[in-house]
């Protein structure tokens, strides 16, 4: 049975060219420490700085503005905690939204315990933030605005550029969690007007365990990890050079191949959404236009997401569901609930995220399997009445 992988929002497979460059890097015995002042160290520096340039180019930044981290979560923690700690004398108010990823939400929760105030801005039914709400939420005490670029559950892309204009006018630092969007849609840090931006390699066919944080020059920020002088004193600890080399290549490929990838993903998404619309009582979450090209979040009434997921897995189709079935009311997706979705519907949600390796044939197979599992599960659902 062939596996069909529709969970690219969790991790993407390595691009063959990324795999190749990483294998070569290992085979060439590049083990050096970039801080060593000899030729072995220099080889590591070369690899590191080459990758830094490639990543910078992906988001239209300068190489020196890129800090390599261990993943998207670390980048986000670094951005938020780093600014909060550096500016704690100036203010303790942070503005965010109520659809952020856990790595933002839980970081903010910790800061709240330390006495910071957080304003979580609500979203509309598509998951969009109103920039006016952001403007109203900013006070004299505000030190940071952190709003995600694209939502990882429903795919909606936030109006970051408009919010960036507001934060600049108000002279407040602005971080965007671009982990779900980085390498998948075009990003220009100047256009977006952000001071900090987080991305992760495993979202664009690079390896996992490596991410990057863009820091605009002169941004007041503390390191998250203290120690040596690596990453220009902004992130201590010897870098994951192998991962970084992979990330650099993946960033270069993402930049070059982006138009073709987007076209392919949109074709798959359109075909899948058209099919989903033929099922009765299903809802497609997120904004119909302003969203990630390869992500479809669908809520199926009268069934539970996890049971659908297991049935699809039985047919070799890998998808994800945000809601872990177990936890009672407490586990419905906070993103879907924030968009006004009721708890019952939120529990019956599946996230299909396509990748460059998927085909229209995969879509047909997945849809057929989904139709079967929905019919099977509805046949024993106490809420479902045939229309």
């Amino acid at each position: 049975m062939n596996t069909i992988y529709f969970d690219h929002i969790s991790a993407t497979p390595l691009h063959p060219a990324v795999k190749e460059i990483m294998i070569n890097f290992i085979e060439n015995d590049n083990f050096g420490n970039p801080l060593s002042q000899h030729q072995i160290g220099d080889a590591a520096v070369e690899a590191l700085e080459g990758a830094r340039g490639q990543v910078a180019q992906l988001i239209n930044a300068k190489p020196e503005e890129i800090v390599f981290t261990s993943n998207g979560t670390e980048s986000i923690n670094h951005a938020i905690k780093g600014v909060a700690f550096a500016k704690f004398k100036k203010g303790k108010h942070i503005v965010s939204t109520n659809i952020e990823h856990q790595s933002v939400a839980r970081t903010l929760r910790v800061l709240m315990k330390l006495g910071y105030q957080v304003t979580a801005i609500p979203v509309d039914k598509y998951g969009l933030v109103d920039p006016n709400d952001v403007e109203k939420a900013i006070t004299d005490n505000t030190i940071l605005v952190s709003i995600m670029h694209a939502n990882n559950e429903i795919g909606t892309i936030e109006p970051i550029a408009e919010i960036g204009k507001i934060t600049r006018a108000k002279n407040v630092l602005f971080h965007t969690d671009a982990v779900a969007s980085g390498g998948n849609i075009s990003i220009d840090v100047d256009e977006l007007g952000v001071d900090l931006l987080s991305i992760a390699a495993n979202q664009f066919y690079g390896p996992s365990g490596v991410g990057a944080l863009y820091i605009r020059p002169k941004t007041e920020i503390f390191p998250l990890i203290d120690g040596g002088t690596q990453e220009n004193n902004r992130r201590a600890g010897t870098q994951n050079i192998l991962g970084i080399v992979g990330m650099g290549k993946a960033a270069e490929l993402a930049r070059i191949e982006m138009p073709q990838r987007t076209e392919h993903l949109l074709k798959l998404k359109k075909a899948f959404v058209e099919k989903l619309n033929t099922l009765d009582e299903v809802h497609i979450n997120g904004h119909p236009e302003i969203s990630l090209p390869g992500l479809v979040s669908v809520s199926v009434e009268y069934v539970e997401g996890e049971s659908m997921m297991i049935m699809l897995e039985g047919e070799g189709i890998c998808v994800s569901t945000r809601s872990a079935c177990a936890a009672g009311s407490l586990r419905a997706s906070h993103v879907l609930v924030a968009t006004g979705c009721d708890y019952v519907t939120a529990q019956g949600t599946l996230i299909f995220s396509f990748g460059v390796g998927n085909t229209l044939g995969d879509i047909d197979k997945a849809f057929a399997a989904l139709t079967r599992s929905v019919a099977f599960l509805r046949s024993m659902s106490p809420l479902y009445k045939k229309k």
């Binding site: 979580a120 539970e304 297991i310 079935c325 177990a326 708890y343 024993m380």
Partner: protein, 187 residues
């Protein structure tokens, strides 16, 4: 060595880990459907919690002669419905009242820890169907069900920690007893 094993158990907890028995009952559920004019209906859970289980019984001479379920929930909840109805079929009401959550869980084999509460749902629904039957024939044999009514009352409409089963009075971010996160992120 023990340390390593414990660590592994913690690691495994988060993963989907259904036994073969659970998968079999999930894929080929026994007794699914409804009964026309049932003698008793037991309904537990709440779709808000992600699980809802409805069990219908037909009783003759204090014995369950037919039993059907309909369930909205995860794989474990469906498997529990299937097995609990199988366990009850043909048994006397007294015998069925003695079926405990532990027994259901044991029959099913290993359930992921955060889905153990699904096993509780099964026995609860079963007992409620029988209590409903007793209530319908009114007045008779009330004593037999008294203890169980109490027990169900304690859980009804509540949500509990998926890991340690503690009942919450209010929505909380972390379970007060075992410290595991439970909640929706910021409200």
């Amino acid at each position: 060595m023990r340390y390593i094993l414990n660590y592994y158990a913690v690691f495994k907890e988060g993963l989907m880990q259904y036994s073969e028995t659970v998968m079999d009952h999930f894929k080929n559920p026994r007794n699914k459907g409804t009964i026309k004019n049932p003698d008793g209906i037991g309904e537990v859970g709440n779709p808000i919690c992600g699980d809802m289980m409805k069990i219908m019984i037909k009783v003759e001479d204090e014995r369950i002669v037919d039993i059907k379920f309909s369930t909205l929930g995860c794989g474990a909840a469906i498997a529990v419905s299937s097995i609990v109805t199988d366990m009850a079929k043909g048994k006397t009401l007294k015998e069925v009242m003695k079926i405990t959550n532990k027994e259901v869980a044991k029959t099913l084999g290993e359930l992921p820890k955060n889905e153990l509460h699904c096993a509780n749902l099964g026995a609860d629904a079963l007992h409620m169907a029988i209590i409903d039957y007793y209530n319908r024939i009114a007045g008779k044999q009330k004593d037999a069900s008294k203890e169980k009514v109490d027990y169900i009352g304690k859980r009804k409409g509540k949500c509990y920690c998926p890991y340690c089963d503690t009942v919450f009075l209010n929505e909380t971010l972390f379970c007060a007893k075992c410290g595991k996160p439970t909640a929706r992120e910021n409200k």
